[in-house]
Symmetry: C2
Subunit: 217 residues, 2 copies
Amino acid sequence: MSKLRSTITMSLDGFVAGPNQSLGDPLGIGGEQLHQWLFPLRAFRESHGEAGGEVNASTPVAEGILGGTGATIMGRNMFGGGPGGWGDQSWQGWWGDDPPYHHPVFVLTSHPREPLELQGGTTFYFVTDGIESALEQARVAAGEQDVSLGGGANAVQQYLAAGLLDELLISVVPIFLGGGARLFDNLGDPVPELEQVEAIDAPGVTHIRFVTTRRGG
Amino acid sequence: MSKLRSTITMSLDGFVAGPNQSLGDPLGIGGEQLHQWLFPLRAFRESHGEAGGEVNASTPVAEGILGGTGATIMGRNMFGGGPGGWGDQSWQGWWGDDPPYHHPVFVLTSHPREPLELQGGTTFYFVTDGIESALEQARVAAGEQDVSLGGGANAVQQYLAAGLLDELLISVVPIFLGGGARLFDNLGDPVPELEQVEAIDAPGVTHIRFVTTRRGG
């Protein structure tokens, strides 16, 4: 069966977004510092249609974030346009007309909405009946490929606590956000058990890859 | 001038001790899992008078925890026997008659006590007039060597927030403690700025070394 894996960047004090997230500041105060390791990379720039860029020890991680995955799951907060109902449904996510997913994306929400088909193969499906349903649908959509769990913190916590996450890659950046969305919280009892697979020393970031060895929940 | 450096082990969810620390459970519930990377090492066993043990990628880190340092600073909680006054002064720390420090150790406390000289060159001095005074005394004692900041969380936070810590090595272990003493909290405003120097992939642990580039406080 295809795996569910998540790649997420965390500050040294444990946050994946800073305080006071808003439409103008989707990653909260200071949160834009989180992904400074990613933006200069050729692998990232190419996926956004831009030329040039660096190749370094982070390149395989950047390539792996979406590479080899056939579907993505994300929380409502990561898709944005909330909280609450969808209003006039004009919100189409943060990524413009041609999002960098190029496969089906399943958004966890309690507010029903019709599927949203954008360019380049990305269609957003809005799943209102829970994380297991979203995973089941994503696995069907992904076929032989893995499913990527995009974030944010709450979605990762739910899948981790439920014992449904297979692999986790944390990119630890040496910044302090001091508040915001804490990644490892509400993990249930007993807590999940992870095994470290590898750590990668890259410019301005340490990537640590884990597999789950005992499921939480 | 000699540097102040700290080496401390942190769970993936950010704790350096688990919940409910007590005399019988000095690292709190689950906290004994934190240092499993350290105990099997020959470098650790030798420093505790035991033969045998492993040599792996953690060995230089274990050797560096006390190697090359001429004095140690620690918080009262790490020395133990508290909280509160010293009573009959029978508490001599967690380490027996011959502690593994072999140099002067300065304990941050608000309760005065005469110096405590144990075997093997370790004398504990109890400093009641603040972190800067302790650092000044430790620097004098260390001479040309560096000063080690042992912990716990509160002591590291105070030196980091005051801009007095030069180097920090965090050993990240893939466990969740779910509560306890959080390392990176109360860091002041502006928060300290760190630069990643290196990351070391070792069995069951990732060591990340940082230097401070802008001082907090």
